[in-house]
Amino acid sequence: MNYVIIGNGTAAVGTIEGIRAVDREGPITVISEEPYHVYGRPLISYLLLGKTTEEKMLQYRPADFYEKNGVKTLLGRRALKVDPTAKAVHLEDGASVPYDRLCICTGSRPFVPPMEGLDAVEDKTSFMTLDDAKHLDAMLGEHNDKRVLIIGAGLIGLKCAEGIYQRVRELTVIDLAPRILPNVLTEAPASILQKHIESKGVRFLLGDSVQRFAPHTAHLQSGGAVDFDVLVVAVGVRPNTELAAGAGCEVERGILTDARSATTVPDIYAAGDCTVSHDIAADTDRILAILPNAYMQGETAGRCMAGDDAVFDKAIPMNASGFMGLHMITAGSYDGETYLEQDEAHYKLLVTRDNRLVGFIMIGDVDRAGIYTSLIRDRVPLDSIDFDLIREKPQLMAFSRAERAKKLGGIHG
């Protein structure tokens, strides 16, 4: 079996490791536009923050990862078209790569809405790739003297803010939404986090947007203006679905796949940020552009490509993020009955629906949050555990003795 993977991020790593768990022999080829050895994409903010280095980032998998896994890499080369009849990937440079099974792991790209005057802004970047981070690093320079404007108060914008806040003279984040992290947090926890980030010197302009740009000024819808030296556009991302669509795969906002990560075209699989997932917490189909999800989908694709019968049907939105020393862990859906615990330093919201935990938000104390995540992922009926104990804190004491014997005692069945 001859395997080809387009893309070289986490979904591709999952695919490689999934294939190799089943098939040690079949050749694998990875085609990627980015010229780098695979790196953990969310590390770019930590790179700017100084918590990691480029060298360490590139050790997301060891230097001999491709070699050990029998992977041939075509890096810095762009796939142009997938021909599902001839079963080949055509590259921009004219080469063509045949496949028996293909996995599309093309990820997403920054969405830059049309904004008047944006072309005239010279020092600007998105914040998705190692090259973006290097570009931003170069624009900031060494003197902590730049005024930076970030458009977008989502995870990408705020992680960027965390990465650079100690290296700038002024940092402003603007978002059309009335609160920060609108896709991740509800109002009250967003406000707690916002106050914390503001206390580190970051200014927020919420419920506002840029009407037009002059080279160093953003004129706002509200009438105000923000002067800046460097602009970061972090409005959102769009899945890279063109190759899949061109191959005849069914595509909505992202590439459609089943629980085996197979697309609607035979022998073509897809994984990661370019796909639509089924979110079991909200029971809806949506794009879950998060790293663990990309790995799981990729691993499942890889196993199935190699003939195994794997499924990944436990996708939920989830995020662990720290912002300037304050940690936040969230998962699932916030639609249901709520249980809130809050004091000055901590915030915890549990959400239940139909005898299941479907979501939670923890800020500050995030200890053992994964026990909550597992209740969502495994759809554990709440009447089978001690819910009072689970409300108090994540603990295995809330499970029955028999369940604990399975979890801790290695007793199966």
């Binding site: 994409r41 360490k56 997301y60 295995l396 014997a405 979890k407 801790l408 290695g410």
Partner: protein, 142 residues
Amino acid sequence: MKRIYVNEKWCLGCHLCEYYCAFANSGKSSMVKALKDHKIAPRIRIEERDGISFAVNCRHCTDPLCVKGCISGALTIVDGAVQIDSDKCVGCYTCILSCPYGALSTSNEGAIQKCELCMKNAFGQPLCVQGCPNKAIVYEER
């Protein structure tokens, strides 16, 4: 592979496993030097309530969600054991979000910490198990 298993009914709730763990991973030559006047941050923890107690540490899953979700590649499987490279860890806590047992914890150094079966310290074998007075935790192949 040998793993640590918990026999809940034998647990006395004495917390000695926590102290042995803290000592084993302290790099100090004696328990007194490791523990006296220190607030310990062990990688094994006792849960206790109403006369029930048991120890919880990393299960060294064969299919570990923490490793799969790790954004930096700091968590890996080495000879069947899940290990953490604290130099690569950026402290994002995705593993804390992922682990169904609550077995990884934060540390003062920013990186997360977890049980590594004492494979990387001077003891080479889980010291918590050796220190348990009632065989409530055992290290064996099952």
